[in-house]
């Protein structure tokens, strides 16, 4: 892994046509801007990870039936606790 330091306002290039800009540095977060061609997908890695986990859990859940029942009960409870407005 390449490791280097950047200050707010600075940027770096990945290949010829992707530029990553450090816009703001907060206490626990950095705000990042990415300039890239449309066809390049940019995904937050946690979304990819979550999708994979959701797919894996549904497959590996040895007791899918029970997992679904638990979910259905939780949903019913939720709707009872937070009455739904008619729209």
């Amino acid at each position: 892994m390449l490791v280097f330091r950047r200050n707010a306002g600075e940027s770096f290039l990945v290949g010829d046509n992707v530029e990553v800009r450090i816009l703001e540095i907060g206490r626990n977060q950095v705000k990042i801007g990415v300039v890239a061609p449309r066809e390049i997908g940019i995904y937050r890695s946690e979304i990819s990870r979550l999708n994979r986990k959701a797919a894996v859990d549904s497959l590996q859940s040895v007791d899918l039936k029970n997992a679904v029942l638990a979910l259905q009960r939780a949903l019913q409870k939720r709707e009872k606790d937070q009455p739904v407005k008619s729209t």
Partner: protein, 132 residues
């Protein structure tokens, strides 16, 4: 009780794939009346990829979905459009509770069955809302 919206029964096309499964662009929604309101978003080419989904409105009736220009372009959406908004559910393993991703719902344009996972950058929605 939120009125159930019928789910599309044909092939959903994800032009950009699904994050984590970028090469998969064709999915179907599998439904079983015993599992309602849960459905499964299953890849047509990779049967191991099967994600449980719930209509977002079942979790948050006031859900504030926003689409930017790029989302609308990918979905071929003009005007308001007829949309379906689904949250991906992680069922958990018994010890961990089921959670739903409200930060990045799957939005389906019901007029052409094109779909995209849309990150709600403006929001503070949780990627792992505990359903309990």
């Amino acid at each position: 009780m939120v009125e159930a919206q019928p789910l599309p029964s044909g092939v959903l096309r994800f032009p950009e794939g699904l994050p984590g499964f970028e090469n998969l662009t064709q999915f179907v929604l599998l439904q079983d009346e015993d599992l309602v309101p849960l459905a499964f978003l299953a890849s047509l080419v990779e049967p191991r990829v099967c994600l449980p989904v719930l209509p977002v409105r079942r979790l948050d009736t006031d859900y504030d979905l926003r689409l930017d220009e790029d989302d609308r372009r990918v979905l071929h959406l003009t005007g308001e459009g007829d949309l379906l908004c689904l949250a991906i559910v992680t069922l958990g393993d018994g010890a961990a509770p089921p959670t739903a991703n409200l930060l990045a719902p799957i939005v389906v344009n019901l007029s052409n069955w094109t779909a995209k996972q849309v990150i709600q950058i403006h929001s503070s929605y949780s990627p792992a809302l505990e359903i309990a």
